[in-house]
């Protein structure tokens, strides 16, 4: 069993309520930070811990915090990004639903570090009942002196408010989120200026993911040094992985980032193997935007090493031969799944979620969906594959926000690794309507790398 820092107490009865949470050691990090540390010391501790943004980008959190501008007389804000919408990702929902006070605790400590006296939790609109849970937790924290004026007599004031979104994946992008918080359409802003300088209502703002802010609690409790000992290399601490697809035990798991992908899929401690005794065909390890990998490249890197569940190992080989840890949305496909159809559902998702601001993304996502629909329905042409490749290349890097890249990458990776499945669909228009391409060679052992030097 790996060490658990976030979900350790999730099974304790009544942990959702303040009293039990407090009895189990909750809010200790608030006492420690507010009474014994300066805001800068808290930021330094987070920096030293090596914590990286858990929303998907993996940017060092402490560094992000240190960028916040501190102009005289201008309020600053912390905004918690709970707009979890990346297909395959449902970890933040789990954390907020079952351990709401852990997030509130993390928010208090982080707000203190950043000097935010009004902090917002931007929650995706569909998680309506989760917002109710958070509102209750906020009220409880307030009643018990952990929110409001002069928290614990320290002179630090803080209010936390939930803000309900209304169904837009793009609002998970931090500048779109800020537009939405201001009551506008979720169109991402051009950076710079960065939110740390001009964020919500033009005030310096830091936007962090739910899991990131919750991780601040154990960092303060056990100390940065201890936290950084968990994990490997630049993947310190623990990570929540939401696992779904054709596995025996879908759910949210907290892992330390030293375990192998193979163990994560097949061990009973985590996914418990592929459902119905079938074989693994492919996997998207970090949310729909990151490259899909065939079984053989997922379990081992091109160097023949076991691939591990962390930032570095999952991206080993770059985009041609690797993927990303991303948001930790782990989607497993068994031998009966059709990569063409799966890619089509993702292309449709990005077309639906494109805000329409940049032409390459607005037009390109629609074209990709149409072409993939044709191929999937047995009406594709061989030239369509190159056309898809060309379109995704022209979206990538040519948009204001990363949604363009996120839409391009799944299509690119599917063609890169599963081109023969696309070709089979096109060459066998009738057969492809009644059966899937199957496992083919996707789980075959990789060819050994021949040293070229």
């Amino acid at each position: 069993m790996g060490r658990k820092l976030l979900l350790e107490k999730v099974s304790v009865e009544g942990i959702r309520g303040f009293d039990v949470y407090r009895r189990e050691g909750g809010y200790k990090s608030v006492e420690k930070a507010l009474k014994q540390m300066t805001p800068d010391q808290v930021t330094d501790e987070v920096k030293k811990s090596g914590l990286r943004g858990r929303g998907g980008a993996g940017f060092p959190t402490g560094m992000k915090w240190s960028f916040i501008a501190k102009p005289e007389g201008v309020p600053r804000h912390l905004v918690c990004n709970a707009d979890e919408s990346e297909p395959g990702t449902f970890k933040d929902r789990y954390l907020m639903e079952f351990l709401p006070h852990l997030l509130i605790e993390g928010l208090i400590v982080s707000s203190y570090a950043l000097g935010s006296h009004v902090t917002y939790i931007y929650v995706r609109g569909e998680y309506a009942w989760v917002i109710d849970i958070l509102d209750v937790a906020i009220q409880e924290a307030k009643t018990n002196g952990f929110l409001g004026n002069v928290i614990l007599g320290t002179g630090f004031d803080l209010e936390i408010y939930t803000h309900r979104g209304a169904g837009a994946y793009i609002c998970g992008e931090e500048t779109a989120l800020l537009e939405s918080l201001e009551g506008k359409r979720g169109n991402p802003r051009i950076k710079p200026p960065f939110p740390a300088v001009k964020g919500a209502w033009d005030r310096p703002t830091v936007v962090n993911n739910v899991e990131t802010l919750a991780a601040v609690v154990p960092i303060i409790n056990i100390g940065a040094e201890e936290y950084a000992k968990i994990g490997i290399g630049k993947s310190t601490g623990t990570k929540l992985i939401s696992a779904c697809g054709n596995i025996n035990k879908p759910g949210v798991y907290e892992i330390d980032m030293t375990i192998s992908v193979e163990d994560f899929i097949y061990s009973d401690e985590w996914c418990g193997g592929i459902a119905k005794g079938k074989k693994l065909k492919a996997c998207i390890p970090g949310g729909s935007s990151v490259p899909i990998l065939p079984a053989n490249l997922l379990l081992k890197t091109v160097k023949g090493e076991k691939r591990l569940m962390n930032y570095e190992s999952l991206s080993d080989g770059g985009f041609p031969k690797g993927s990303m840890l991303g948001s930790g949305g782990f989607i497993v496909l068994d031998e009966d799944q059709c990569v063409v159809k799966h890619t089509l559902t993702l292309a449709r998702f990005y077309r639906h979620e494109s805000c329409g601001q940049c032409s390459p993304c607005r037009e390109g996502t629609g074209w990709m969906e149409k072409i993939l629909t044709n191929i999937e329905k047995g009406k594709g042409k061989m030239s369509d594959i190159d056309l898809l490749w060309d379109i995704q290349r022209k979206i990538e890097g040519n948009t204001i926000c990363p949604l363009g890249d996120a839409a391009a990458w799944p299509v690119a990776a599917a063609i890169r690794h599963f081109r023969d499945e696309f070709e089979w669909h096109i060459l066998n228009p009738e057969e492809s309507q009644v059966r899937n391409y199957g496992l083919a060679h996707y789980a075959d052992p990789l060819e050994p790398v021949v040293a070229t030097v």
Partner: protein, 169 residues
């Protein structure tokens, strides 16, 4: 257009409370939560009149409300049934058979995606990823998620809705 709609006092108090969460002069920030409140209160969708009313509450131009309401997929811009089945159709749900669930709902209720049953009871919508990938196939029904859907579960949800509607009438 003359606005005849109005929230009851307790909802107006809620509006005030929501607006107070944001900095002074930034009342518009409360638009998303207030549109949710309005949609729930005025029959499950946002008519032009409702949106104009929200504009009035926030002291902004009606067009500012329209441009927001048309951006976000949770706001219904035309009438919907009493119960809206929002079935997820993105990758992880597709892997676990959402297509069959959608097909089953279509056949059972005899409506196409986007349509409402003749008695005004049910609307079927397909939606993109709702964050329940590990518990798929799933749908949103009102405030809550219905997960691990099967044909039998769909039947019992339909029966449950009819029963609730009959009790409330």
């Amino acid at each position: 257009m003359t606005i005849t709609q109005s929230f009851p006092p307790e909802k107006l108090a809620r509006v005030k409370e929501l607006i107070a969460r944001y900095p002074e002069g930034k009342e518009k920030s409360a638009i998303l939560p207030i549109l949710h409140l309005a949609q729930d209160h005025f029959g499950g969708w946002l008519s032009t009149e409702t949106m104009d009313y929200v504009a009035e509450l926030l002291n902004i131009l009606p067009v500012e409300v329209y441009e927001v309401a048309t951006f976000y997929s949770m706001y219904n811009l035309k009438p919907v049934g009493k119960y809206v089945f929002e079935v997820c159709q993105t990758g992880p749900c597709m892997i676990n058979g959402c297509d069959e669930i959608i097909q089953y709902i279509k056949t059972t209720l005899n409506i196409a995606v986007g349509e409402t049953t003749g008695d005004g009871m049910f609307t079927l919508k397909t939606v993109e990823c709702l964050g329940a990938c590990g518990y798929s196939p799933m749908m949103q029904l009102g405030k809550f998620f219905r997960e691990h859907l099967t044909k039998e579960k769909v039947d019992s949800i339909i029966a449950e809705c009819r029963k609730t509607a009959a009790t409330n009438n």
